[in-house]
Amino acid sequence: MSNNFAQESSAIKVTNLIKKVVTQEGELTILKGINMDVKQGDSVAILGPSGSGKSTLLGLLAALDTPTSGEILLDGASLSGLNEEQKAALRKQKVSFIFQSFMLVDTLTALENVMLPAELAGVNGAKEKAESMLKRVGLGHRLTHLPKQLSGGEQQRVAIARAFICEPKVLFADEPTGNLDSVNGDKIADMLFELNQESDTTLVLVTHDLQLAKRCKRQFIMDSGVLTEANKANTETEANAENSDNTAATVEVC
């Protein structure tokens, strides 16, 4: 029963996730059996050196990529066996993104960029919502500006407004402050966590920035395809050991 309860309240549940790719030098295992359980409303940071597999994991969790084996449940829905269209529909319903390089459409205004996901989802009143989101991130006076007319921090604020417009269950952020100086980075981080708390969104954040990571409830460290939860890892392992070997450990070394 406790297992079922855990599944219902999980925003993301990952079981024995493996990702292999074929390179010129032969087969390469990027993710070596990842297990992870993230509760709804949690904020989770994934730290790790470059090339450790952080972004690969993020791509898999966000239903952008397909694992070699293993299972991912996103807000209770299994990603296994979904085709591209079904994955897209799932993303539209449940997830949103913030990227290091902002990924704004450089020919559309700030307002139009924020409207995009709402329009794709067929939400009524996309424009009004986008306006209020932009006001919320302090860009009410920059609605008609093009990305190139905005500073890096402002562009990322547009991206945050865009990410929250559809009230996603899970928000994936890939190095959200990576392209910003520390002052702007802090502002963006404040905004991100504030909105995250307000809207009860689950936040999965990939970063190199320890300070940013520390602001998350939980921290995971990725190293050579292996994920370990920092700090509370041992306690959690013990607590869950009774339930199941597979789901207990958020850390599994292959």
Partner: protein, 829 residues
């Protein structure tokens, strides 16, 4: 939603100039097709119309007897206008003078095309002489002492007007009898035409192109062997070959121009799609379905295409209007319907935009959402063959729509395919050859070479673009120049405008003295003797008619020939085989007639002149350019061979008022010619000045259209160049950022970038010359029948100008990158 989004993207990208390249490419393709279609249609109509003036109709049937009424019934059915004329030779009398004339007895409605120009008060007449009257050529008036009336058979005709030019005057300097124009209704009363009389019935027809085509199909089979079908193309008009060549050239150049514009669309479309890779990845990440993205970009591209088409059609109309300003009024007055150019332009825009964009668009739609995290990811690598197939398919479809000729279309498509293949291989090999050069980064030249090598694959593609544009440009330039030169050669500034025929032997010396006295430089005076060819190699020749009736034997020439003799080879008569007459029993034969008679060197030919036969040996074949307006002959003998026979002579010369003035004479050209007529009343003077002027006008029109085509090809080439440089900009930016970061100086980077573009341009230029020389060889030998020669200056000019143009264009495109600071470059990259 997709519609709104597509419209928004379109609006914004347009305002920010992001769509300029692809819209411009489509605009150019549509503009070339619609503009050229209309201009060339107008010119074609004008050229054919002008040329038709030479025969005063669209079609003529020439018959020795009255035409089968069925033929005229078909013409009526097809709503062709027609008129019946009669031509025969007869003597006319005025007092004690008499003269052989060619009677042109015309029916109501003559002339169907063109006008009869009258000498008095520069009038053109839309009417005909009334019954009992006749109009006369100036020469006739001169010969008969300008009488008020003449006797013709049983009737007397008043001479009421002097003709300065007839629309169907034709051009045959041997038709020495002056023309008398009268009404057909008056012929019967003359009593001249009896059974067995030698007479030509000339049936002239005009009408719509389609009706004429149908008429040809239905009427031609009803004609017998003695009846001749004549149109502008098949007519003996000296401009026929010029018209044909011009038409072929226009069509070919337009097709190549279209192919080039298509290439620009292809490159621009690729660039357009590449620019949207990130947008698609982002949209997919936010959950856009494949259908949504298909719809979004389908609509977006549709908007882009329609903008391009709209601008192109507008440009086409403006182009046509502009050209019309420069055309003579009578040609500008021809207004072919707009429908075909518009439909052609529309389909060109749609076909080229969608077929050239199909492959890049498929790749765009296949971009995986994961690209948001892994920027190097691209879509499925679909086979290049699909792209190639679609592109060639589009080109073939457009070519066929435009030219309506499968052969020409296939030729162009295969040429483009071969060109691409050849240039890809050559370009790749040439750039690979620089492999051994080291990668030191202190020397701009080595840095440039390294850059070239690094981008070997991309450069090979760029080279194809640069070189194709250059090849087409060089080919068109050379062909245009050659064609113009050829025409100029055929029609030099001092082309003869007067022919003197029927020069009696005793007049030869005084005539020469007269010409010398007035400083008139005439051609040599050629004796003309009429004779019939009877035997080849002692085999009696039969007529074509007898052959068709089943008589066995070798076919000869059934009419009398104009023979001449002289000691040396005349100018403009190059020997193609054998040696010009060495002995008195030798003859030099024009190569065309030699081929028709299946003659070989050393064959013998027997001629009959005044019932005397003599045999000569064929020792040389000559090429004769009939359009040169020089006295030209099928057969040239040694003087001794024709000495026993009586002859008259002919000559031609160029004369105008300026010439006369320059030579210090007070006389006008006309007065000098009149003096000549008065002094030598038996010599017939034929004024071909008007015809020469007409020929020149046609050549001018053709030149204008060639220049226009060239300008469009140039524009298309420039667009290809810009599109190509645009495509490589992102990679270049990253490289510059890295080099800058590692301390390369601004000067070094500028020099290296400039050199890299210059080298690329030089290689493209060199390849282009090689391929262009080859293409020209094929075109000149297979299509245009022009003299082949190497264009040596190009071998220096093309690589040099390629280097200059490409480096200027490249540096201009890169100027921002080169001036940016290191951090800006890195950020943007």
């Amino acid at each position: 939603m997709e519609w709104q989004l597509a419209w928004r993207l379109f609006k914004r990208e347009l305002a920010q100039g992001q769509l300029m390249l692809i819209v411009l490419a489509i605009t150019l393709a549509v503009l070339s097709v619609s503009g050229l279609a209309r201009v060339s249609e107008r010119l074609q109509v004008a050229i054919n119309g002008e040329a038709a003036n030479f025969i005063a109709a669209d079609r003529i049937i020439n018959s020795p007897e009255k035409l089968n009424p069925e033929v005229l019934a078909i013409a009526d059915q097809l709503s062709l206008k027609h008129v019946t004329n009669m031509e025969f030779n007869s003597m006319v009398y005025a007092g004690d003078k008499f003269q052989l004339v060619t009677i042109k007895a015309v029916g109501d409605g003559y002339p169907l095309k063109g006008q009869v120009e009258l000498a008095n008060a520069d009038k053109v007449s839309t009417q005909l002489p009334v019954s009992g009257h006749a109009w006369y050529e100036n020469r006739l008036g001169g010969l008969l002492g300008f009488p008020d009336s003449i006797e013709l058979g049983n009737i007397e005709l008043s001479l009421s007007a002097e003709i300065s030019r007839l629309p169907d005057g034709g051009f045959n300097p041997f038709a020495s009898a002056p023309v008398l124009l009268m009404r057909l209704d008056d012929v019967a009363a003359t009593g001249i035409i009896q059974p067995g009389s030698r007479v030509s019935y000339v049936y002239q027809f005009v009408g719509e192109a389609d009706a004429l085509k149908q008429f040809e199909q239905q009427a031609k089979p009803l004609l017998n062997n003695s009846q001749r079908w004549i149109d502008v193309q098949t007519g003996d008009s000296p401009i026929a070959s010029a018209v044909k060549r011009a038409e072929r050239f226009l069509l070919l150049a337009s097709l190549l121009g279209i192919a080039l514009a298509c290439a620009a669309i292809g490159i621009a479309a690729q660039r357009y799609c590449q620019r949207h890779y990130d947008v698609v990845a982002m949209l997919k990440t936010f959950g856009a379905s494949a259908k949504q993205i298909r719809l979004l970009f389908g609509l977006h591209l549709l908007l882009v295409t329609f903008l391009g088409i709209g601008l192109g059609l507008l440009g086409g109309v403006l182009l046509d209007l502009a050209i019309t300003q420069y055309l003579p009024a009578e040609i500008a007055a021809y207004s072919p319907p707009y429908l075909r150019p518009i439909l052609l332009g529309l389909s060109t825009g749609l076909i080229s935009a969608f077929m050239f964009s199909a492959y890049p668009l498929m790749r765009l739609l296949a971009i995986p959402p994961l690209r948001v995290l892994q920027r190097q990811l691209e879509g499925l690598q679909l086979g290049m063959w699909l792209h190639l197939l679609l592109s060639l398919g589009a080109m073939a479809l457009l070519g066929y729509l435009y030219s309506r000729s499968i052969e020409l279309t296939m030729t162009v498509v295969l040429t483009v395919l071969l060109l691409g293949l050849l240039l890809s291989i050559l370009g790749f090999v040439m750039i690979r050859m620089g492999h051994s050069v080291g990668m030191k980064t202190t020397n701009p030249f080595q840095l440039a070479l390294a850059g070239l090598r690094r981008r070997a694959r991309q450069n090979a593609v760029q080279l194809v673009g640069f070189s194709s544009a250059l090849v087409l440009l060089l080919t068109i330039l050379a062909l245009r120049q050659d064609l113009l030169n050829e025409w100029q050669k055929q029609l030099p500034e001092n082309a003869p405008n007067y022919f003197l025929v029927n020069i009696a032997p005793e007049d030869t010396q005084p005539l020469q003295a007269f010409l010398d006295e007035h400083h008139i430089q005439a051609t040599d005076i050629y004796p003309v003797i009429r004779g019939r060819l009877t035997h080849i190699n002692d085999e009696e020749l039969i007529s074509g008619r007898e052959k068709r009736d089943g008589v066995e034997g070798r076919v000869g020439i059934s009419r009398e020939l104009n023979l001449t003799y002289r000691d040396s080879l005349p100018p403009h008569n190059p020997i193609v085989e054998g040696t010009f007459n060495q002995a008195d029993d030798e003859v030099s034969v024009e190569s065309g007639v030699a081929e028709r008679l299946d003659l070989k060197l050393n064959d013998t030919m027997t001629f009959n002149i005044d019932n005397q036969s003599f045999t000569v040996k064929v020792t040389s074949f000559r090429k004769v350019q009939w359009e040169t307006l020089q006295p030209n002959f099928f057969m040239i003998f040694r003087p001794a061979a024709l000495a026993p026979f009586s002859y008259t002579s002919m000559a031609s010369f160029h004369l105008n008022d300026e010439d006369m003035k320059a030579r210090g004479s007070d006389l006008t050209a006309n007065a000098a010619v009149l003096q000549l007529i008065q002094q030598f009343p038996t010599i017939s003077v034929i004024d071909v000045g008007a015809m020469v002027a007409q020929l020149r006008q046609i050549i001018d029109q053709v030149s204008l259209s060639l220049t226009l085509v060239l300008a469009l090809v140039l524009l298309a080439s420039a667009l290809v160049l810009i599109a190509q440089t645009e495509a490589g900009m992102a990679t270049r930016q990253r490289e510059l950022a890295v080099l800058r970061t590692f301390g390369a100086s601004g000067w070094l980077l500028r020099a290296a970038t400039g050199l890299e573009f210059a080298l690329l341009g030089a290689i493209a230029g060199l390849l282009a010359v090689i391929v262009a020389e080859f293409a020209l060889y094929m075109l000149k030998t297979q299509v245009f029948e022009l003299v082949v020669y190497m264009h040596w200056p190009w071998w220096a000019i093309a690589p040099f100008s390629g280097a200059v143009v490409v480096s200027i264009l490249g540096m201009w495109r890169c100027r921002q990158l080169l001036n940016q600071s290191c951090s800006d470059l890195l950020k943007a990259g």
